[in-house]
Symmetry: D2
Subunit: 328 residues, 4 copies
């Protein structure tokens, strides 16, 4: 009985901490701004900040604008990579895209040209992500997209819609991504025509989620592909581990090194301001929350020069420090 009470107290303490940290780091939003190159994203209120943490037993701690809907953007790259690996097996996918970090911006083409024959460096840069989208199961844009949303829904437990305004906005301004897709066709890495791959990619970027949804995805990853609430293995441990490794080395665009150094958990960000983190169980002594691992979803639409949520990154750094979440 006492144990339950203590846990309840702890839960409320966690909740209080999250709320006070959200208040504190919300101010950091002023150091960034909403993604301007996608007009529909530019409209978001930059001062929003929300978080949702879900533990192995389904316990949930939330604060701030955790219920606000936003689009997955680059967070979708993680999920399409998992989906492609489920469908083709890891080794097939890695023949088309490597897993090495680069120091280049997310939409860079340089390495495609410098490093013949041009296999994209990793699935977290746009060139690699478009390649991965072209490998999704299905013979049509529709089918490929459906195979991706099925995977997402198996993790979040609910259906997701596309934000049509964001989708149209991105499709219209996707000149660099279109250039990448055609370049990848030239080098032979795409699994379907350029325009099809591009459509799948942009649709997946436009899928609407909340911090709770991506916290659930992070939770499944944290548990090596096992969904602890549904008690089901959704994909293999090998795919989960590979994916988390990729998130560490490449997940935060070309600020991944700094994020690894100062936050220290596998995470993937999107220019809409979302960050999805997967925290594996820890073996350290001492009582800190979520010691059995957790998934974290953060939303804060003001992003920095690299494309990462400014307030969201700061908030995650605070939590990782206070709760000793680092994987190192």
């Amino acid at each position: 009985m006492q144990g339950v009470q203590e846990t309840a107290l702890k839960q409320s303490q966690i909740q209080d901490d999250l709320e006070s940290w959200v208040d504190r780091y919300r101010e950091d939003a002023s150091k960034g701004k909403c993604a301007a190159y996608i007009p529909a994203l530019a409209k978001a209120n930059p001062e929003q900040l929300g978080i949702c943490v879900i533990g192995q037993d389904g316990s949930k701690a939330v604060a701030g604008n955790w219920e606000t809907a936003f689009t997955l953007q680059s967070i979708s790259k993680v999920i399409s990579f998992i989906a492609a690996c489920i469908h083709h097996g890891i080794s097939y996918v890695l023949q088309r895209v490597d897993v090495e970090p680069t120091g280049d911006a997310f939409d860079s083409m340089i390495r495609l040209e410098l490093h013949k024959p041009g296999r994209p460096f990793n699935p977290m840069i746009n060139a690699g992500a478009i390649t991965v989208s072209s490998l999704l199961e299905g013979d049509s844009t529709e089918d490929k997209f459906d195979s991706l949303t099925s995977l997402i829904e198996s993790m979040t437990g609910r259906q997701h819609q596309i934000n049509e305004e964001v989708y149209k906005s991105e499709w219209k301004t996707a000149h660099r991504n279109r250039a990448l897709a055609h370049y990848l066709t030239a080098t032979g890495f795409l699994g379907c025509p350029a325009e099809e791959a591009l459509e799948v990619y942009i649709r997946q970027c436009s899928i609407e989620v909340t911090t709770e949804d991506i916290a659930m995805i992070g939770l499944v990853l944290a548990h090596d592909g096992y969904h602890p609430l549904r008690q089901q293995q959704l994909f293999s441990k090998e795919i989960a581990r590979l994916t988390k490794a990729l998130m560490v080395t490449c997940g935060m665009y070309n600020a991944s090194g700094n994020f690894a150094a100062f936050v220290g958990v596998p995470a993937k960000s999107g220019v809409s301001g979302g960050i999805m983190a997967a925290v594996p169980p820890r073996g350290r002594k001492g009582e800190t929350p979520f010691g059995d691992g957790c998934g974290i979803g953060v939303y804060g639409p003001a992003i920095d020069q690299y494309g990462n949520s400014v307030a969201g990154t700061a908030l995650l750094g605070q939590i990782a420090g206070a709760w000793d979440l680092s994987i190192y």
Copy 2:
């Protein structure tokens, strides 16, 4: 009493496994060759393979050529980085060298020129390591070098010598590193004259160790700077975590992404064929060896195109898989 016996049995099982794996992966050496660009290294017998694993309680498992002496080479970059952070504090050091991975070769200059004003991308590439060496405590080459060896000796518990033949060989052929050092002087990042920084750097590369020595260093890193046998905090948790994060994102040259993906422990390699790994305590269920963390030293002088021991990497992959050492 029974417990002790069981542990002894387990110890012997670990030992047997290590020996059989060393035998198996020794063959992989034929896929690589000894570093040719440093003449003194080219002489090593490429078929050597040795390993030493040290646990929190000092328990030690060894196999193969674990007692062979070799030079630290790039493994020294990790230690000089720690030494510079101890002396100057993390933030000072990071003003001179970033912590972002690159997709470039270890001796590349390109990014120094492309990314004005040229702060080296990370301390694990030569440009960054020479910068770090220039920041070591002391006003002379001698003093800087001594401050580094002191740190090493506090971890390994014994004194280390330079391999004079390797040192002279590297000094004479260090044209690219000399170029880097002068370039860094031009861009203003060195803390001492180019030739001095270069001398410290090449000397540190020539320090002789065994797999046991680097396993000890790995053990201290695994325990966040705490030496579990000497029961002493040698450097701060912050420095240790930052260093392990760096090892993950940049420690295996431009194969770091693949190493993270398929081995999954913080590690640093050197072209002499050494690999030092720091395995933090794990929180997973199930009984696997060294669950409280360990340090691992590997030596296998035949290296691949990236500069990493071929057999050593394969052996570590085997161990990490079998013992579930991955941090993800």
Copy 3:
């Protein structure tokens, strides 16, 4: 009377020389091969070699396969540049494309990304040429293309057709050029939609000519935009000079420096094997043919790694040396 006879003798000597040189350099074709990346070009007989030289007075010397039809390919870049300058004025065009040589391959993207904001380096690389095509007069693909052919026909004095097989072949395999066009849309340099610019560009590449046609174009350029046979100024001296300067610094892809060094006349090559050269009047003492300037057309479909006709380049080097045509 004697003068006429002498000239006639000289004419016949020129003719004899051309024929013997064509025979000699035809063998050089074996060092190259027909462009493979455009299937329709790969079919050409690589041993062809033809030349046509036209002097100020219309005198014409020819040898070998001078009457064979081939497609303009990159030679069209010179003419579209002239057409765009006629329409918009030089300064407008140069706001969209620079005139600096690069050391990169013709279809490279690297510099677009490295040198923000990405104005193409010059109109002779594909990125620059696609930009120039987008600036041609007219509101439709059709009109833009017609404004280009009008200019060509004013110089050659005859109508030109597209080689439909080549056009279709290029359109289908134009992935890199399509990537460039979309990239240029992203950076804002195109004067019309990407697909339109691309269509104009690929159509202009497919225009069929003979060595006589491009010799005529070279002749007009040699005389600063003045057509000596039609006695008409077709475009300004400023445009002609600028164009010839561009041909010297960028006309032979990334072998332009060597061509300048060892041939020394303004020239533009195409991957179909054509080379168009514009030889200005010379001021040197001594009697060499075509001292008042000439246009030269060469055709030899076996190309080298840079995209230049192997035999054609050698033949031009021979002629430039023997007749002292160098502009230096």
Copy 4:
């Protein structure tokens, strides 16, 4: 008699024009500034502008600060290239350095790394010039330097000194050039030790000249290696032509394309503000000055972002336009 008078009148007209143009373009100096990275150069009065033109018959037209002494800097690259070609023959020299233009800055290293095995792209960028200096005749720094000054003195007809202050200033701050020299040692292109090559190179940059001296050098180049006043062939026509071609494609740093396009004569600039131009005889109708070719020396120490004299380039553009000097 009348002819002489007319010529005298013309001479005086030329002189008047030069003077008025110098007055006009002197103002352009304010758009640039003196080279700051070499402290001794930064002291020059930026408003100076002087010119000297020397014709085939030795006739000389001068204006402004034509008698001011300045250091050769990169103009020396042209002369050391000639000297190396005289000593080794063209083909030997071109095995060590190519003749292709690049779009990179003069002190760039990027291409050395990108284009294995790293032969410098041309002798006009620092990497190429240091390589050329290493190939000069002689077994010591002294001898190599003397072989260069002998060639200079054979053209200018007088002895030249080094400006010791500039030399020391450059030696002390030559970090990037030192880096290049060591890099070139690593790639095997230098003909002598790095420090020796560097010393020769920096000494040659410090040689003091006036506009008259470099006009004389330009005159010899204009006449294909023949000294029209001394009536002596100093080096072969082949070397002269190759050198002028190089000046056109690479002589004005990475503004060479624009200079070719809008000035149109072979020229080489130095960061001290000197420009040496070699104008070959022209074959155009119409009476313009120096139709038989000339050498031009310009001095204007305020330089632009590329390293070229701002006022000097504008002045040369004016003269080339008014006198129709373009080689195209």
